[in-house]
């Protein structure tokens, strides 16, 4: 997209996008300040003493957002200047640090830890002022990073624009839900009804709902038409059965699945796990025995369901999509957001199967192989001998762990759910957990498959 542009031309191109972008951000902050002021939600955070005069200036939220708006206006002025040296951009040292932190282990561990921190300190993070600050920082990060050629190349690709929107929209809606849940939890602690129960006047399907839907439909259609005109879908060369684009990416909504395929056999990641996801979602109403939390946001009353859902959705689905879109480059290697997509990047990824590790590295023997020309039972026997450790581990994981869970951490769940329902839930949970476990094993100890029986296309 930016191939063949000189640096100056590239900066020109980015500047023509960036200065309106910063103006929009300034307007956004200005409108927020105006809204807070007009609705009387002005809060003084602290008083700034003016040196010499003995007076102090109250710094309220309105003042802060006005200052932010002015800052964005300044950024817009610098960006519109189209002078390379004036261009506001991410410092190179930061870019390096972010590139370093975008390795697979750091990325997955970081997102997990980040989500845990967000969850534990949710009361702090949902405060409108804090949330608005984070929102501004996210958008500022996007703007500052745009001036990097490699980052721009990835972000501005028409295929990837939905991912940027997805990240922003999801942050907003997750905040909204958590914010209301925190308020509701507080209210219910005080014995008050949740917010949703205060305003539960019923409205009619016609016209209230149908009108809303109609308006949404028209607005979305207009938006899609605008989008299709502004960012046309990229057309590539004619398909060829012997030539695969490098990297070869699925549509964005399947990138989580494609990432899963890196760690599992195609049968497993392409068929068994997706089907289990669907079946598991269908099973939720039958597994859920918690009658609380219907029709209002709450976290406290449905902690387990909330955590499982947010882990499965945000961590196992969304972050994998973001990873696949932004961090996977040629040859499906990992690339930092500011890193050049070099098709010849060498990564040491020599993977071993558990059986190879056990027989070769641990015992120093060669893998047990059936003598040539032996019959099927003998072959199967030798395969079983070769893979016994992996088979034992996997069976132990799925058969021995649920009873242990029932006796320890999930004792109350087992008592409430009964044997069959608990076993179903435990196995679904374990299957879900198997993905991060395999990811970590792949990255940390270069494990390929626990059970590797390529003779029968059975790998796990």
């Amino acid at each position: 997209m930016t191939h063949g542009l000189t640096d100056a031309q590239f900066i020109d191109k980015v500047a023509s996008f960036l200065w309106p972008y910063y103006i929009v951000l300034a307007l956004m902050n200005g409108v927020a300040a105006l809204y807070l002021w007009r609705t009387g939600q002005m809060k003084t955070w602290f008083s700034l003493p003016v040196p010499g005069s003995g007076k102090s200036v109250p710094i309220s939220n309105v003042v802060a957002w006005v200052v932010a708006a002015v800052g964005f206006v300044l950024l817009a002025a610098f960006a519109g200047n189209s002078n390379v040296s004036w261009m506001p951009s991410m410092p190179l040292s930061w870019q390096e640090a972010i590139n370093q932190a975008s390795g697979p282990v750091m990325y997955s561990l970081g997102t997990t830890v980040g989500l845990i921190v967000l969850f534990i300190f949710r009361r702090f993070f949902v405060t409108p002022a804090i949330a608005w600050t984070i929102w501004n920082l996210m958008l500022l990060f996007l703007g500052l990073s745009m001036t990097d050629r490699d980052f721009f190349e990835i972000i501005a690709k028409p295929d990837n624009v939905p991912i940027v929107m997805l990240v922003l929209l999801l942050s907003f809606f997750t905040w909204l839900a958590t914010y209301r849940a925190v308020i509701n939890d507080d209210r219910m602690d005080r014995g008050e009804p949740p917010l949703e129960k205060l305003d539960n006047e019923k409205v009619l399907v016609w016209p209230d709902l149908v009108y809303t839907e109609l308006i949404c439909m028209i607005a979305l259609t207009a938006f899609l038409i605008f989008w299709a005109i502004a960012l046309p879908a990229p057309l590539e060369e004619p398909a060829s059965s012997v030539k695969t684009p490098n990297p070869s990416k699925a549509p964005w909504y399947f990138l989580g699945l494609q990432e899963m395929l890196v760690y599992f056999d195609p049968w497993m990641a392409g068929i068994v796990l997706p089907v289990t996801v669907v079946i598991g979602l269908m099973a939720i109403p039958y597994l859920d025995f918690n009658r609380e939390g219907n029709g209002y946001y709450t976290i406290k009353q449905r902690k387990f369901s909330y955590i499982v859902f947010q882990f499965g959705f945000l961590e196992m689905w969304i972050t994998l999509i973001v990873l696949g879109t932004l961090l996977r480059g040629p040859n499906w290697n990992f690339f930092g957001p500011y890193e050049q997509w070099d098709a010849h990047k060498v990564e040491a990824l020599a993977n071993v199967n558990l059986s190879e590790w056990f027989w070769r590295d641990l015992l120093g023997k060669s893998l047990p192989t059936a003598p040539a020309g032996s019959n099927l039972p003998t072959q199967i026997g030798f395969i079983g001998l070769r893979e016994w450790l992996g088979i034992a581990l996997v069976l132990g994981y799925f058969i021995a762990l649920p009873p242990i869970m029932a006796l320890t951490v999930f004792r109350r769940y087992y008592q409430k759910m009964g044997f069959i329902r608990f076993m179903l839930m435990a196995n679904l949970l374990l299957l879900m957990a198997s993905l991060p476990i395999k990811m970590v094993l792949r990255w940390v100890v270069q494990l390929k498959y626990l059970i590797a029986i390529p003779e029968f296309f059975l790998n796990f």
């Binding site: 192989t369 590797a452 790998n459």
Partner: protein, 339 residues
């Protein structure tokens, strides 16, 4: 919504009753006026609440149904309107309740009785009728004893002659012979059959597109000495989907053909000369120069094709026959040429 000042059903009925009763005969007026004067009194609270509430409750005084009114009007000449009104009110009102959920349903009985009063009366005169009856019928039934005594002279007007379209089909369609329908059916089935056959044929033809789908599976790639040791010949990949490799495998120098299909999910890997490996762009599987998988998710090595030296001294590759390492097939002498 509910707070808008619309005319509620009760209001509308009341208004309708008022105009009706004014044009009525004098004896009916007493009863009708009594009826008409009451609804506005409780119509106001009803207008504020939801429409469903404007329906009279069973037995509530002063809120007779339309059927009651009619009955009262009919019985008007024999006086004692009050007693007539009370009696049917109890019978008719419970029936009105389920129907009263929607506005339309409540307004329906208000119009129908006016149309066929005569027929209702006629029907009511019959001793018994099974099946459900309308409100008006129910009212008329109870009202009949007094009404019949007071007005024995009412005779139902003659029913109009039935139009052609209302006559039973037998009489009308007798002219059409049965044979014509059979012919019609035959033609129809044949047409459907022919269309289906044509469609089926088209779909079948679609399955065999007018292109050569498969690359030639058996082909010659030149003399064996055109492939120097340690080299991967990639020029046959685009045309035939194979790499011709001359390398050392298990201590022996071999010339063999590797199929350019990833054993993970079937993408086409590319040969990276600098890294000396085949690398798949879809999920990052990597293979050594001899086709053995070593990185990424590919569970087994690349597949070999049958290779031989033809009678003219050229290397001939047959893609139809493949050899899998994990099945121990690479020791088969037809899958490599020793050099």
């Amino acid at each position: 919504m509910a707070d808008k000042k619309k005319m509620s059903v009760a209001d509308m009925l009341a208004a309708a009753r008022k105009t009706d009763s004014e044009g009525d005969s004098a004896p009916a007026k007493d009863a009708a006026e009594e009826v008409a004067s009451t609804p506005p009194a409780d119509a106001k609270p009803a207008a504020k609440s939801s429409p469903a509430k404007s329906v009279p409750k069973p037995g509530s005084p002063g809120r007779p149904s339309v059927a009651d009114m009619l009955a009262a009007a009919r019985a008007g000449k024999s006086a004692d309107a009050g007693s007539v009104e009370k009696a049917p009110a109890k019978k008719a009102a419970p029936k009105a309740k389920p129907a009263a959920k929607a506005e339309k349903k409540t307004s329906k009985p208000a119009t129908t009785p006016e149309r066929d009063t005569a027929s209702i009366l006629a029907a009511a005169r019959k001793p018994e009728r099974s099946g459900p009856m309308s409100k008006a019928e129910a009212a008329a039934k109870t009202a009949v004893p007094t009404a019949a005594r007071a007005k024995p002279a009412i005779v139902a007007p003659p029913m109009p002659v039935k139009p052609d379209y209302a006559k039973p089909k037998k009489a009308r369609a007798k002219a059409a012979p049965i044979e014509e329908r059979r012919t019609m059916m035959k033609v129809g089935f044949w047409a459907v059959g022919i269309v289906t056959a044509v469609w089926g044929g088209a779909v079948t033809a679609f399955m065999f597109p007018n292109v050569l789908r498969e690359l030639p599976s058996k082909f010659k790639v030149g003399p064996p000495d055109a492939f120097p040791p340690g080299q991967v010949q990639t020029k046959f990949k685009a045309q035939y989907g194979v790499w011709v490799v001359n390398t050392e495998y298990r201590g022996k120098q071999e010339l063999f053909a590797l199929k350019s299909v990833c054993t993970h999910l079937g993408c086409t890997p590319s040969w990276l000369e600098a890294e000396q490996k085949f690398k798949c762009p879809c999920h990052g599987s990597g293979f050594y120069i001899d086709g053995i998988n070593f990185e990424g998710p590919a569970p087994r090595p690349l597949e070999r094709c049958a290779i031989s030296v033809a009678s003219d001294g050229q290397v001939e590759i047959d893609k139809n026959i493949t050899y899998q390492e994990e099945m121990g097939q690479w020791s088969d002498p037809t899958c490599f040429i020793s050099v």
